[in-house]
Amino acid sequence: MSSTRKLRILVAKPGLDGHDRGAKIVARALRDAGFEVIYTGLHQTPEMIAAAAIQEDVDAVGMSIMSGAHMVLMPAVVDLLRARGGEGIAVFGGGIIPDDDMEALRAKGVKGLFTPGTPLAEIVDWINANVTPRQ
């Protein structure tokens, strides 16, 4: 098709833990859902993620954090994106996130949050419902 927007999504693995199986499985599921997924690998700083999101002109950034640092790293990415003109980029995340933290993260602009065991289709549905190609 000649002029159709295709969703571009950055999947990143910030922080120090090395468990990227989940991130890779999500990346694969998003590919199979027809999205273009930019996967940047392990040990990303919020600065690296924000820079990549801007250069790649993505519609959404998904982060996987297993180390418990989600309260610092996820809002940091939201803030950096806003500072660089990427406020329209939806931010979502997955990992071991206690219920108490979820509300706080949503308030800070992390729109979608997924815990272990979430069916992949739920993540895809969330993206289709909440992420639109940026103009």
Partner: protein, 304 residues
């Protein structure tokens, strides 16, 4: 870049406006089979250009899934070191069904980076086989990356990929068999017909993961750029570049016009196929009709 990749109306006007600013960057293509180390070589080349303060753009192409249309673009993983360097701009692109090793919009995105003031634009192709040689039309200097153990010496005399190289990088040269690959390439190069003053593609051994041989590769790229700019050659080189640019843009516009025409057909390509079958029409006639409609559409839209 997004508008260009998505073929949005207005993208062509933007490209026209920035075209006068293009033509300064050295466009380096890096191609080779999957897993030969193209991304790692790109990463090291970025470092080498950055050491001289040169601004570097990278267009990294990975394949789209033929089934879902989705893609995993993973070339950035090897270029982490440069993620936050403001002098480096990396853009990942999916082929979106385009064959030849690049995406249909790669040439346009390269021109945007050129106009952005990048001194060097590196184009990394998808992992290619033997015949995906489009990068040679987009790049000024094409590096073909090989690794030991990919086949016997008959592979080296086949046509295609090996003929487009301005420079060979025999990567993973810390492995057995690297010297044999170098020898075979050199024999192949010695046998090829050539004229006085032709460029002699150098064969460089690299082990990009360890940073070995990158200085030699850089030297080869710079020498090729100098040779291309050298007296007597530069006119022909510039004409050749205009030629391939024109061909690429025209093919792109025609393809887009045809796609639009098919989309506008009731039921799209499926509807068209059904109608052709129902009417007992041959596909050549149907294709001619679509093409004619596409050309009429082009006249109105001016290729946008």
């Amino acid at each position: 870049m997004r508008d260009i990749d998505d073929g949005m109306p207005g993208a062509v006007d933007a490209l026209k406006a920035l075209y006068p600013r293009t033509g300064r960057a050295h466009v380096v293509g890096v191609t080779g089979a999957p897993g030969t180390g193209k991304s790692t070589i790109c990463d090291r080349l970025i470092g080498s250009f950055r050491a001289e303060g040169k601004k570097v753009g990278v267009v990294a192409v990975d394949p789209s899934s033929p089934y879902s249309g989705g893609a995993i673009l993973g070339d950035r993983i090897r270029m982490q070191e440069h993620a936050t360097d403001p002098g480096v701009f990396i853009r990942s692109m999916a082929t979106r069904g385009h064959l030849g090793g690049l995406s249909a919009s790669t040439g346009d995105v390269v021109r945007v980076m050129d106009a952005m003031g990048m001194d060097v634009v590196i184009v990394e192709t998808v992992g290619v086989g033997q015949d995906e040689i489009e990068v040679a039309r987009t790049a000024h200097t094409t590096v073909v990356v090989l690794v030991p153990g990919m086949g016997d010496d008959v592979q080296a005399i086949k046509a295609g990929l090996l003929e487009i190289a301005d420079c060979f990088a025999v990567n993973k040269s810390d492995r057995d068999g690297a010297d044999k690959v170098v020898r075979e390439l050199q024999v192949m190069l010695d046998m090829r017909p050539r004229r006085e003053g032709d460029w002699e593609p150098p064969v460089v051994k690299t082990a990009a993961i360890h940073g070995e041989g990158i200085g030699d590769l850089r030297g080869a790229l710079d020498r090729h750029a100098e040779w291309a700019a050298g007296s007597g050659r530069s006119g022909q080189v510039l004409t050749d570049r205009r030629k391939s640019e024109l061909g690429e843009i025209m093919r792109g516009m025609i393809a887009k016009a045809v796609e639009r025409r098919i989309e506008a057909y009731p039921g799209g390509i499926d509807g068209l196929a059904n109608d052709v079958r129902a009417a007992g029409k041959d596909p050549y006639t149907a294709a001619e009709e679509i093409l004619k409609g596409a050309m009429d559409g082009l006249k109105e839209s001016g290729g946008r």
